[in-house]
Amino acid sequence: MITLKNIHKSYTVGLNSLHVLKGLDLEIPKGELVSIMGSSGSGKSTLLNILGILDNHDEGEYFLDGRKIDKLSETKAALLRNEYIGFVFQSFNLISFKNAMENVALPLYYKNVSRKKRNKIALEYLDKVGLKEWAEHMPNELSGGQKQRIAIARSLIANPKIILADEPTGALDSTTSYEVMDILKQINKEGITVIIVTHETDIARMTKRVIKLKDGIIEADYIPEPFVHANDGLLVEGVR
């Protein structure tokens, strides 16, 4: 699904150039549930931005579903994001003046789906995350967990192949965190590749593969404890 070859990325901060990603090689097959871990400044957010085509890489090759991503125009990038990728953010990023259903339906709006049709689909996805009866509520009337579930429904509605979640549980307590993780795992079971950026070990442990970044390179890439046993070493290949 995702292939990264020797990806470099640096930012210019004032007069200094900050080399954030220093030659990443990464292969994420379809249907994986991966967590990316690392301390702040390790480059995990940068990596997520590049994966999400929110940012361009400087050097190297990035293939998304076999398609080379390189120096895309903003318009093309937007269309690709819409088609391939669903985003889930730490701060939910719901649009405050739209109700739950309209928020979920937003990606379809950019695909020019008619209002009636996309609201109908949005309701189905709200049902999936168990919030159908909250459809008419505005984001400020919902709890953090509910907001994140709506954000997840929104990320799913355009039938993406990948879900990119940036600290999806960062603003939630542990009970709600686990609920959200359950939903993400459920999505993964349906065949969608899920990539989670987190710094919480217990969240990472719920994924099938952990990629640890440090100073812009992959420090470790392993199957976390519970899964090695549970999955009969299915992903052992991925371990280095």
């Binding site: 931005n49 999400g52 929110l54 940012d55 903003e74 318009t75 937007a78 269309l79 994001r81 819409n82 088609e83 985003f87 953010f89 990023n93 649009i95 003046f97 739209k98 309209e102 937003l106 990606p107 709006y109 950019y110 695909k111 209002r115 929104r154 355009a158």
Partner: protein, 422 residues
């Protein structure tokens, strides 16, 4: 295509800060309101002034004689003299810039004390003027019945009279046809050939025009023993001639013919309507230019306000725009969103300004017409429909321009930076 989500976003953005939206919109509202009110008032003032000169030949010059102020050629100062019939031909032959000459002799009468015009048992005091047919080209009248004086009337010194409609009212019954009837003016019978009403009642040469009678100049001279005396001259000058120059030429020629000192400023004097008219026209052109400058300036201030506010809106919504782009909104969609918002705000505000200004002018107009006085300094204020439409078009275009810069800025921010924005 009506796009509910787009409008929902527009209204949400505007509603988020009602006061700010209102003040911004008010800037544009005020700009267009002032522009229209000023244009309308300028037009009203102009209409009122030009109404005074309505139908009058605006390229006309009037010349008359007064006692001399300098001794010359053996004559003492204070000499009175009259223009003569042969001046007419001399003027016509020597000054080609003159378009028409209308000599006039006022036959006295018109003072309320003595009734100089009699028909049967009716009588009245009316002004009697000896004229050429050309007079009708200088201060035109509308013929209600019959005809105006013609060349043959003057050549043959016919005893014919063209009477004002108030003369007719005084001397005739309502159902009588005056044309062909006879009236007695200072003891001599004249046949009425026409009845007129004045077209311009604001400019007159002594007395109410509706209460005056035209008879041929030659008839007046002959019948009442004026010899070949002409009271004064009215001229119009040819289109491309300079009124001041022609004016001077006329005076110089008349001075020479009547042995008046060349530098005598008082003996031959007059009134140059052309010059006055040009002055007033120039004044109104100036007012118009000023109104546009001030109006466009005010409007511009309003539009800049909109642009400013859109910049703030974009800044406030950077994160939201980031989310939208992460969800697949193309830059074009974002740009069109912001420009639509800006155009919407300017158009609505401008439209209200326009409507309110036009409404106010209409109310003033109604109030003025209800008053109905003749000599108003303000008449029919109002703006051209085309000017109003042009103003609206300017608004829409400037609304789009006002939105363009903030929109460009909105998409120039990378989606990740927008998402990080707190």
């Amino acid at each position: 295509m009506f796009d509910l989500d787009k409008w929902q976003e527009i209204f949400a953005a505007l509603r988020k800060n009602k006061m700010r939206t209102f003040l911004t919109a008010f800037g544009v509202f005020w700009g267009i309101f002032m522009l229209i009110i000023m244009l309308g008032s300028g037009r009203g003032l102009q209409n009122a002034v030009f109404e005074n000169m309505k139908d009058f030949a605006t390229n006309s010059i009037f010349v008359w004689s007064q006692p001399t102020s300098e001794p010359y050629a053996g004559f003492p100062r204070g000499r009175r003299f009259n223009f003569r019939n042969d001046d007419i031909a001399a003027l016509r032959n020597n000054i080609p810039e003159i378009e028409i000459i209308a000599p006039r002799l006022q036959g006295g009468g018109g003072s309320a004390s003595v009734d100089n015009v009699v028909r049967g048992l009716q009588s009245g005091a009316f002004t009697v003027n000896g004229d050429y047919p050309e007079w009708n080209l200088i201060d035109p009248v509308r013929m209600r019945e019959g005809r105006f004086l013609n060349v043959i009337d003057v050549e043959q010194s016919r005893k014919v009279a063209v009477i004002g409609d108030m003369v007719k009212e005084a001397l005739f019954e309502d159902d009588e046809d005056p044309v062909g009837e006879y009236i007695r003016i200072n003891g001599i019978y004249f046949q009425v050939v026409g009845v007129f009403s004045p077209l311009n009642s604001n400019m007159s040469f002594g007395g109410d025009k509706a209460q005056s009678i035209f008879i041929p100049l030659s008839t007046l001279q002959r019948t009442y023993n004026y010899g070949d005396i002409v009271g004064w001259f009215a001229f119009t000058i040819k289109k491309n001639a300079d009124a001041a120059v022609v004016d001077q030429k006329i005076k110089d020629l008349l001075k020479a013919r009547h042995r008046v000192a060349p530098h005598d400023q008082q003996a031959i004097t007059g009134f140059n309507l052309e010059r006055e008219f040009k002055k007033i026209s120039g004044l109104f052109t100036g007012i118009d230019i000023l109104v546009w400058i001030v109006g466009i300036g005010t409007l511009l201030a309003g539009v800049i306000g909109i642009s400013n506010i859109m910049l703030i809106v974009v800044k406030e919504r950077t994160k939201e725009i980031g989310i939208q782009r992460a969800l697949g909104a193309t830059p074009l969609k974002i740009i069109s969103q912001i420009i639509t918002e800006s155009v919407f705000l300017t158009t609505v505000a401008g439209y209200f300004g326009l409507v309110l200004a036009v409404f106010l002018l209409e109310v003033v107009n109604k109030a003025l017409s209800a008053n109905g006085s003749e000599n108003m300094i303000f008449r029919n204020p109002g703006v051209d429909f085309n000017i109003a439409m042009a103003a609206l078009a300017i608004l829409i275009v400037s609304g789009a321009l006002a939105g363009l810069m903030p929109a460009k800025r909105a998409v120039s921010i990378k989606p990740i930076d927008a998402l990080r924005d707190e």
